[in-house]
């Protein structure tokens, strides 16, 4: 039995911007066991919703996660609209989809930068974050705020897209498309990028399915699932796009899926702008929502987002439950890291694009399966090896030196 070392990573850690802690048990350089602990961001939002009117809940739920703020508010509002039996005007559904895609672009560019940073490719971080500012400016122009834009109201949207804004969106999309083609080249031709990410964080199709991986994480393992196609919402039924999948099953595959999804998003935005109908922006929804239950799904940039809303006939919800995509993916991380290199921990964790402020939970994953082929030395073996090496090559005998018990 070889000695195992437990290395705690986090909650404050330079590689992860959000608080999450990992107790990584090492056997040599290899990860034998990983204990993920999240929940540092638990704020009690689900309970908070119970005491707030529906409209206030929209603002609160938008702040579940700043990166996918539109996802959570749309998902919640879809459920409320289903309970109130309201059909939103066509234009509102187009604008919701438009913001959804803009959000996906900003999130994927953000991810590309963070992932590049984790592998020490800081040039790409600076490039992709510079390009991301194009989308951020666009969002600020359209909604008035860079991050929490709150375009949704119950029954529609609050803001129209003018002709002038349409032109600016299309211009920005052209710039971004050109830049993204460059990233596609980086992802497919840059040898150091491919070599660093290939075979890292491998998860097979079967395992990804069993552990319930969603979004780009699942799609990179060949799971062809996308709520925009499976259970269309907003205007996605009238839009033509493909589900991007990849069969690499590793971090490289996840990068390829995300970069290709960016190109899909540009095409979706162009179609949305072209087809944008002329209808009112919203319909009135009564303050008191009839009693009932509804489940709403939304394809957030990270994967499937689910909201369950139970109403009781008053202006406040009885129960709101949400499941963010990271919660579904965090189980897969433990599997991906199994028997991997310790140095790969940050990039593998970053590769699912974790968002712990959405997740707010913790798991215990016991993956105590390390293959028998040992590629490590015990301290004693290492010591003997070095003594022999010095004796043979330098003619010095260190075996007389007293052995310290303090090591490891």
């Amino acid at each position: 039995m070889t000695k195992r070392i437990v290395i705690p990573v986090g909650p404050q850690h330079p590689a992860l911007k959000e608080p999450a802690s990992f107790d990584v048990t090492l056997k040599g350089e290899r990860v034998a066991d990983i204990l993920v602990k999240v929940g540092y961001n638990h704020r009690g939002i689900e309970k908070g919703c119970e005491g707030r009117p529906y409209l206030h809940c929209v603002y609160l739920l938008e702040r579940v996660c700043g990166i996918c703020s539109h996802s959570h508010s749309t998902c919640f509002i879809q459920a409320v609209e289903e309970l109130a039996n309201v059909k939103i005007p066509e234009k509102a559904s187009y604008i919701r989809a438009l913001f959804g895609e803009l959000e996906r672009i900003h999130s994927h560019l953000l991810w590309l930068g963070v992932a590049a940073h984790e592998i020490g490719f800081d040039t790409l971080l600076m490039y992709s974050w510079r390009d991301r500012e194009v989308v951020m400016d666009l969002l600020a122009l359209l909604a008035g705020n860079r991050v929490n834009y709150t375009v949704n109201v119950i029954g529609g949207v609050r803001k129209d897209v003018t002709e002038e804004e349409k032109g600016q969106i299309l211009k920005a999309v052209d710039i971004l498309e050109e830049r993204t083609k460059y990233y596609v080249r980086v992802a497919t031709e840059e040898v150091s990028f491919i070599e660093r990410l290939s075979k890292v964080g491998y998860i097979s199709y079967e395992d990804a399915l069993r552990l319930g991986a969603v979004g780009p994480t699942g799609r990179a393992s060949g799971i062809k699932r996308d709520v925009r196609k499976d259970d269309p919402y907003a205007a996605y039924e009238e839009i033509d796009f493909d589900i991007i999948t990849d069969d690499h099953c590793d971090v490289y595959g996840r990068a390829v899926v995300r970069v290709k999804e960016l190109l899909q998003s540009y095409s979706i935005i162009r179609q949305l702008i072209k087809k944008l109908p002329q209808t009112p922006l919203s319909v009135n929804v009564p303050k008191n929502i009839p009693a009932g239950e509804a489940v709403s799904r939304y394809e957030a940039p990270r994967g499937e987002d689910i909201h369950y809303v139970k109403s009781n006939g008053t202006d406040k919800p009885d129960r709101v439950k949400l499941r963010a995509p990271t919660l579904a993916n965090v189980q897969a991380v433990a599997k991906m890291l199994e028997n991997g290199n310790f140095a790969d921990v940050p990039i593998v964790v970053a590769a699912i694009d974790p968002c712990f402020s959405c997740t707010d939970r913790m798991i215990v994953a016991a993956n105590d399966v390390l293959s028998e082929k040992e590629n490590r030395m015990t301290w004693k073996q290492l010591r003997e090896f070095s003594i022999n090496w010095y004796k043979k090559n330098k003619g010095v005998d260190f075996s007389k030196i007293k052995k310290s018990d303090k090591h490891i």
Binding site: Y308, L327, Q331
Partner: protein, 161 residues
Amino acid sequence: MHATDIALQIKNKYSSSVVGINVQRERRLWLELVAGDFRKCFERLIKEDGFEILVTITGLDTGEKYEVIYHMSDKEGRVLNIKISIDRDNPAVSTITDLFPAAELSERELMDLLGIKVEGLPEGRRYPLPDNWPQGQYPLRKDWDPSVLDKKIEKSGDKND
């Protein structure tokens, strides 16, 4: 196959265990099962009826009872919401982590936020509440009083992280 056909099929197949089944719209089905038969029917629903993807588990407090809803999905994007009711005194459900390892988080959430015991779930660190959270306080219960919190929270005992 339409949702109404599926609903009819499920109703006939599990007639003795079904309390009610309701089609909200094409992709939303609500099924209420007798709590005791849940496990038996659940396994068959996964294997025979194609609802093989676990989306999430919701626990809620209706005032008189607790309810647990298992949101399942099939490949066509249909969501089957399987609901069971449990009594307020000594609430417990059995684990489904043997079928879906990903359910562990949601089940721990049931334990922490609602105080529903999950039988068969292996020991583990608590989630999502803080380590110094007082025992026996379940925030999602309707009769929970948040004002007890500040009096009861002591200094965190977790020295590891």
